[in-house]
Amino acid sequence: MKQKKLAAAIALMTAIPFAAQAQVSNNVVKVGVLTDMSGTYSDLSGQGAVVATKMAIDDFIANEKPNFKIEMVQADHQNKADIASNKAREWFERDGVDVATELVTTSVALAVMKVAKEKDRIALVNGTASATITNKECNDVTIHYTYDTYALANGTASALTKQGGKTWFFLTADYAFGKSLESEAAKVVTANGGKVLGSVNHPFPGTDFSSFLLKAQQSGAQVVGLANAGSDTTNAIKQAAEFGITPKQTLAGLLMFITDVHSLGLKATQGMYLTTGFYWDRNDDTRAWSRRFFEKQRKMPTMVQAGQYSSVYNYLKAVKAVNSDDTKKVMDYMKKTPINDFFAKNGRIQANGRMIHDMYLAQVKKPEEAKYPWDYYTIKATIPADQAFTPLKESTCALVKK
């Protein structure tokens, strides 16, 4: 007993000097924004994500008055995993960056997650959709914040099927991502009593969708699910309108952003269903933040950009709370602290790194319904956090205790 007490006393003594001083290394927290500044995804993340990060840092300094400095570095990964991996290594090893964030494109996110794990730093993933990040490939230094393929496919497919869209046809980009999007949506459709009449794979990236769209038309399905992303989705939507598929059949975008709707216009997209993690015009809080964002960026934020702000802000809060930029301490704090801001109400970060929050099923307005610029969505339903994302017990992540 005595020995135990002695041991405890010694442990306490050694712990005190460390606890007394600020433990943020060099008294600087460095946030690295690694994103696509020039390619396909620059519209949905890119410069807007950098602006959002700057806002988060400025707001944090103004509101919380931290006793450490915060710096931001940014880089364009050009959608190449090797550039991203090189940059992340350089940041972690040489420049003392504490957290790499944004990371759109799955190959980039996976590469940076692994470097972060090796160097014991944090990866905050926002732009990437792939659900593998919190399943097979998960690790304990990564948080997947904004959304994933499961949430989008699940939200749109279940809501539409419940509303009477019983027969589906999928237009799928012919690569792993498109196929996983399709299979996730198809599962939900059949589980809700719907039927998948067929699917067709189109080459990635595709420009001419005519033959595939004709198959979708012939199938007579009520809903045509677009299991693709980026320019494939926008091209398919444009051509679907030209072929007269819409408005007879309903299009469901399984991965779409408000910037896609903005560039296509309401005429081509009207009536479409999609799932989103954030809509600027949802309530007073979202409007207030989004207007500030708009002043800087001249565009309304996508869910990725809003999630970027929220994730960085909450990361900084965690650093302040534990008074350290130590990866494990910050991660532990973030995983046990609920997230409440304009982006998420009662958001929680699960053991596998998945941040779960409410998602929203939106329908794109008709041109005549839009009253002001960026008035694009009607929120049809709120999908509660625990239904929106993969149930934790089904996650294949090794960190989940079964």
Partner: protein, 316 residues
């Protein structure tokens, strides 16, 4: 005679200085970045062997870089082989692929040759994208660097650097020897005047094929090494953009010069890396402008122009 020995002496001096520079460089410059330059330098040099010295424009070299990278990654990650065997496997695979490509492509010349290599490379791209074990567009991730010969820990950046440096020097030596051998002389003869080489009794196709295989294998060596450095192989390595990028590196540095491709690769990699932080979306525009300038203003490339300058001043 006197000038050639002088030249040789100068050459040796240049090699010696550069070799020493390479040895001390990682203490000054960030090693991972240097490794990337060396890998692309070797890749561009291997490509230059074909374009600069045989006059064959292959537009499918990404296939060798990428395929070797994937083979090496799979061998090391999934079959648990040691890194040196992984690199060897990748190089052999690329050499074999080069033999297949070469067999088909060297029957044609000029634009048709380029198109055949491009078509074959696109097939490799398709296979890599669709095959279940490559990870598709997510790339082959999490390749361990492992222990070289079982006892040198490559997770240490410095030992990894010296491995890459040794591989680069070996590859570069092979290229240098190839160019300066009788075999290389015949390659240059084929480049300058193919009918004449044929009339002299050389089996031109055989020489071309052999050069193609060497170039492919060395590209593969670069690709396999790169996979170990970054611990991943991704689709961008097999994409035709990469085939274009290596053309740009070679042209920018100096086509048909020994050091040109290395300089070109270093320039492009540095630009990609440095501009990534500073100018954001302007990277692609700047690269385009550089290419246009290179083609319009200094057609001999950086090293080519410097050599021409030295030669001119030497005469005066």
């Amino acid at each position: 005679m006197n000038t050639t020995t002088n030249n040789d002496k100068n050459m040796r001096l240049v090699f010696g200085v550069l070799f020493l520079l390479g040895l001390v460089a990682p203490f000054v410059v960030y090693p991972t970045f240097l490794m990337k330059i060396l890998c692309f330098g070797l890749f561009a040099s291997a490509f230059n062997l074909l374009l600069g010295f045989v006059g064959l424009l292959s537009f499918g070299h990404a296939a060798f870089l990428g395929a070797a990278g994937y083979v090496c990654g799979l061998l090391v990650r999934d079959s648990g082989l040691s890194p040196e065997l992984g690199i060897l496997g990748g190089t052999l695979a690329a050499g074999f692929l080069g033999w297949v490509f070469g067999k088909l492509a060297i029957r044609r010349s000029g634009i048709y040759f380029a198109m055949i290599t491009l078509a074959l490379a696109q097939m490799v791209f398709f296979i890599v994208q669709q095959a279940p074990m490559t990870g598709g567009e997510d790339g082959l991730q999490g390749v361990p660097r492992g222990n070289l010969f079982g006892f040198i820990d490559l997770d240490d950046n410095m030992s990894m650097y010296y491995l890459v440096y040794a591989i680069f020097c070996a590859g570069f030596f092979v290229i240098y020897r190839t160019i300066h051998s009788p075999f290389g002389q015949i390659l240059k003869a084929i480049r300058e005047n193919q009918p004449r080489a044929i009339s002299l009794g050389y089996d031109v196709d055989k020489f071309k094929l052999f050069a193609f295989v060497i170039s492919a294998a060395l590209s593969g060596l670069a690709g396999a090494t790169k996979t170990l450095v970054f611990q991943l192989a991704s689709l961008s390595d097999v994409h035709w953009h990469m085939s274009g990028e290596v053309v740009l590196m070679t042209l920018l540095g100096g086509l048909g010069t020994i050091f040109g491709p290395l300089v070109g690769a270093a320039t492009i990699v540095t630009l990609q890396n440095e501009l990534a932080d500073k100018v954001g979306s302007w990277v692609t525009v700047i690269m385009g402008v550089i290419f246009v300038l290179c083609v319009l203003v200094f057609r001999r490339g950086i090293v080519g122009e410097i050599q021409a300058l030295i030669r001119r001043s030497g005469i005066n």
